[in-house]
Subunit: 179 residues, 2 copies
């Protein structure tokens, strides 16, 4: 069966700095109408920075919506006019102070396909070299160089609770190299 829902009209409920909150009216497969509310978000990237075979550069930051300070891999939304790869390089330098020698795409996913348009692509960065970085003065991020085995333990015991970080590292471990 074709499960597709067809667009009829959109109502902008609110415009934020980064996100728009919208309500679309759609036609269901049975011909009835329904409403779909969701946020329209720019695409984003995340990157596993492999410092050497055994260490991952993690970032620790406060995530206000969930009221927690958590460990994640570096990530960010793609700026207007920026390519995904440029965004990976920029975020990596801004958040960790490392420039990547090589960047490889891993997978993409949708963090919340029922309620947000956001598409997130994960990369792996190797050949890292420290550079002089000037982080945004209103962005508070701590860098942590963590042994890969310890990160996997953190995942196992549910200390890591960020979706992109879980997907990136579990996928890497399952299909690229056991860490």
């Amino acid at each position: 069966m074709n499960l597709r829902e067809k667009f009829i009209k959109r109502r902008l409920l609110a415009k934020g700095f980064v996100l728009d909150f919208v309500m679309d009216t759609v036609t269901l497969p049975n011909g009835k109408r329904a409403k779909r509310e969701f946020t329209v978000s720019p695409s984003a990237v995340a990157v596993i920075p492999l410092l050497d075979p055994g260490h991952i550069v993690m970032v620790k930051q406060h995530r206000y919506p969930i009221q927690k300070t958590i460990y994640e891999i570096p990530a960010g939304k793609i700026d207007k006019g920026e390519s995904a790869l440029e965004c990976v390089k920029r975020e990596l330098i801004e958040e960790t102070g490392f420039r990547a020698g090589k960047i490889k795409k891993l997978i993409h996913f949708f963090p919340s396909p029922a309620f947000c348009t956001e598409r997130l692509t994960i990369y792996v960065a190797t050949g890292l070299k420290p550079v002089k970085s000037s982080p945004d003065e209103d962005e508070f991020i701590e860098r942590a160089i963590v042994p890969a085995g310890k990160v996997m333990q953190w995942i196992k015991c549910n200390k890591i609770v960020d979706a992109k970080t879980l997907i990136a590292l579990l996928y890497y471990r399952a299909f690229i190299r056991r860490i």
Copy 2:
């Protein structure tokens, strides 16, 4: 350093049926003020339905915000007054027509910690028995019983793009049982 951001005030930008879109004013660790926009969402659950050692009950549905029809594990938001476990049982029956003999908690995570409050907990259901279910007539979901090895191939080749499904199955494979 304490990275915490302190609440000053909230502005409700828009109220949806399920989500609220809000803008909070916060105090940063350096004492400056900043705005944080995000959606306030109910908590949710997802469940890996293991039909027998080798098969997973997946659901296929259209996700309007991302304009794709995708495979996922069954999931849903927790209703008011409902416990997480009650929600798992209800969603499993509604979406797959199976009642669980045993349900076990796996992990929890935040799909989008920078832009949404949603907390999602993953469970594993075993001892499945078919029951008479009456799915919502305006919910279009197809059930698919898929060999576990095939699902892992779908993950590897990036056919699975839903965050909760990736996390649930990769975590299960890494730490519970290799599938």
